[in-house]
Symmetry: C2
Subunit: 132 residues, 2 copies
DNA sequence: CATGCCGTTTACGTAAACGTCAATATTCCG
DNA sequence: CGGAATATTGACGTTTACGTAAACGGCATG
């Protein structure tokens, strides 16, 4: 059961269009096998796609995602290369931590707006049935 | 000291270009006062800009940000409007929580890649000085 | 066999978010 | 006061991430 997927199957699973998946391939983010001309996706392609969409939800560009995937995938034979990858990982981690902080801030702001509205609704319900 | 800022001042503070700030104004995200033709930014503009950039780092579009700002700012006089805003806030919160989860996942993946590399480096340092 | 239905490539279209001049004020500073 | 620096409004260019349409191949099925 080396699970195989069709392009429309994958598209449905992730709620995107086949066009999008082909585009990701054009951009070098995916490289499915072929049965003649048809694309065949395996489990590893699915995992990759899930990763891509995760990163996209966080606002990263396809170019960034591609570079990152290539880098992390690279067997990084040499020591220098390994250390370079480690540095890049640290940079990426910094960006993600910043995003976590941004999310915290926005959630806080939202809670304030929400509270303001709730207070107003509450104060209105206190009032007698419209003194007109 | 009702702090005033020039456009280039703000640009420097936030490490963006003046063009960007003007563009945000064109898009209805900012509305600074004018001294004749020059723009004058007050503290509230600065706060707004900080918010905009935060949201941008999280991958939201300017259109989304504008709508959100307008909505949250609206005095929402009517009760129905208030309840509507509360629902939108809930939706936004859901998106942010999803992002938090995405970040957790990506951080996890990164940690794995990092560990793999560290292991490889360690195993290499175990080996005797190159058996050639 | 005709007719869907899915898949493929190629190509042009598009919206978003600015960058990059250009031409024209204004303002600051020695 | 005069030149340098800063600001303003167009207007056009560019990149990203697909959408959309055209034109075609393969297969399955009534």
């Amino acid at each position: 059961m080396t699970s195989r997927y069709t392009i429309s199957g994958l598209a449905e699973q992730f709620d995107i269009t086949a066009r999008t998946i082909r585009f990701y391939e054009d951009e070098g983010l995916l490289a499915p096998e072929r049965d003649g001309t048809r694309r065949i996706y395996r489990e590893r392609d699915r995992v990759r796609l899930r990763l891509i969409l995760r990163a996209k939800r966080l606002g990263f560009s396809l170019a960034e995602i591609r570079e990152t995937l290539e880098l992390y995938d690279s067997e990084s034979g040499e020591d220098a290369q390994s250390r370079y990858v480690l540095r890049v990982i640290d940079k990426h981690r910094a960006v993600l931590l910043q995003q976590q902080e941004d999310i915290r801030q926005v959630l806080e702001d939202m809670a304030q707006v929400e509270q303001r509205i709730l207070d107003k609704i509450a104060s209105r319900e206190q009032l007698p049935p419209n003194p007109n």
